[in-house]
């Protein structure tokens, strides 16, 4: 009782861990700078709803995809990336992280404006959508594809344009046609290839950007599951924050809802609330598309874990909207998991699942008490992880796992 009073434990009705099948429509974005954010597998993603049940990925697929994404991020950060042996046949923005992140927003493209549901991704840069005539292959999407011939604002980029050179970040070959082509490939084998072009991007009626650089996909494949493409929120010159920097000063924010049946938002520009606590971007990731942070401490049930600071500083940390489960250096994860297990002895543990090794059977419980988990970042920013971010149900209430995983190696 003392620990609850002091705020070291969460008390949860176990049913609240399971996803709801109905969309909570009460949340409405009222700010003109904000877009509604919906989970791609939840009931709020209207545009994909019809085939949602058939297309919804299993937990095993979600976690496998997450593993691919993490491998891809690590490969990009490594000077000996696993993708280096692949041949580039087009100008390439290569090795981008897997494009199947979880959250999507709807934006307008073209003149007249058409709406497209795009996955938003802070771990990649190029915004792209599938285009007509889809010269090679396209996956199925719910909205009609962008048709450049029906938009008065669409323009291809020529090979001689300086913009085309922006794609050539890792020594991709020169243009083989007068028109600049892009190719993005993701860690799971998904890809998009097509024309590098400019188009009018409409975020809201008062937030319209002419000549927005994007990819008009003619050959696309992968686990995009009905979304029309991807919105790149990374850090290079091609990303949406960079292209709209004059208006928004490279400032954007989002909130991801506790449940996949609720909505969040993605906002650009505006004022920063005084309640926001900032941690500096890590210099170690300055030359990468990723937003690097420095974790300094972890706590479980109000107790700071004894982890040498060098464990975090050696490898560094990136924050990513598309990775589902936080990965920690293996030493830090072991300490977290061990401390968590010590405070969960009232509940039967079960076998691990995919990337998870700390799982419990709550099927005989109505309510449970779980320890709070805290993460501290450089600059004294302490973050109490929300109760929705500590456990992950993988098989109803029979198997609910600690929603963290370890990297294979502390330093590699």
């Amino acid at each position: 009782e003392d620990e609850i009073t002091k705020g070291y434990l969460h008390i949860i009705k176990v049913k609240s861990l399971l996803p709801s099948t109905a969309c909570n429509q009460t949340f409405k974005v009222s700010n003109s700078l904000s877009l509604e954010v919906v989970h791609r597998s939840g009931p709020c993603i209207q545009v994909l709803n019809q085939e949602k049940a058939a297309n919804a990925p299993s937990n095993m697929e979600i976690l496998l995809r997450d593993r691919h994404r993490v491998d891809s991020i690590h490969a990009r950060l490594s000077s000996h990336g696993v993708f280096q042996e692949k041949q580039a046949t087009l100008p390439v923005q290569s090795g981008a992280s897997i494009g199947s992140g979880d959250y999507a927003v709807t934006v307008g493209l073209g003149t007249p404006k058409k709406e497209f549901t795009l996955i938003f991704d802070t771990g990649s840069d190029l915004t792209w959508t599938q285009c007509e005539p889809c010269a090679k292959t396209c996956y199925k999407q719910k909205e009609p594809r962008l048709d450049p011939t029906k938009s008065t604002s669409y323009k291809n980029i020529s090979c001689s344009s300086a913009f085309c050179k922006l794609l050539d970040t890792e020594g991709g070959e020169s243009c083989s046609s007068p028109t600049c082509l892009y190719q993005v490939q993701y860690g799971d084998g998904s890809y998009s290839i097509g024309f590098f072009a400019t188009e009018t991007l409409t975020l809201s009626s008062s937030n319209v950007f002419k000549n927005f650089l994007f990819g008009c996909g003619q050959q696309n494949s992968g686990l995009f599951r009905g979304a029309a493409g991807l919105l790149g929120l990374g850090r290079t010159k091609l990303s949406l924050p960079s292209q709209t920097a004059q208006k928004y000063k490279k400032l954007f924010s989002y909130c991801l809802p506790a449940s996949s049946s609720s909505k969040g938002y993605l906002s650009f520009g505006g004022q920063v609330s005084k309640t926001v606590k900032f941690t500096p971007l890590s210099e170690d990731f300055k030359s990468t598309p990723f937003y690097g942070l420095d974790i300094t401490e972890l706590s479980v049930g109000g107790n700071k874990l004894s982890i040498d600071a060098s464990i975090f500083s050696t490898s560094g940390t990136v924050i990513d909207s598309g990775t589902v489960i936080t990965r920690l250096p293996s030493t830090a994860y072991s300490a977290l998991s061990s401390a968590f297990q010590k405070l969960m002895t009232d509940y039967p543990s079960t076998d691990g699942y995919s990337i998870f090794d700390t799982c419990y059977d709550f099927s005989k419980n109505e309510t449970i008490k779980i320890p709070k988990v805290g993460v501290s970042f450089k600059g004294g920013v302490e973050m109490d992880i929300d109760v929705s971010g500590i456990l992950y149900p993988v098989n109803g209430l029979k198997k609910v796992c600690l929603a963290f995983a370890g990297n294979g190696d502390d330093v590699k």
Binding site: H74, L77, L251, L256, V276, Y291, I319, T326, L328, D386
Partner: protein, 31 residues
């Protein structure tokens, strides 16, 4: 690298301020 994933970001307002070289967090950000 460690990766701070979206499950752990839930309900926080996450602010990316690349111009000032910082990332911020505020609790109850979806309210």
């Amino acid at each position: 690298a460690a990766i701070f994933g979206n499950t752990q970001q839930k309900t926080y307002q996450v602010v990316y301020d690349d111009a000032k070289g910082r990332v911020g967090f505020a609790p109850s950000g979806c309210n």
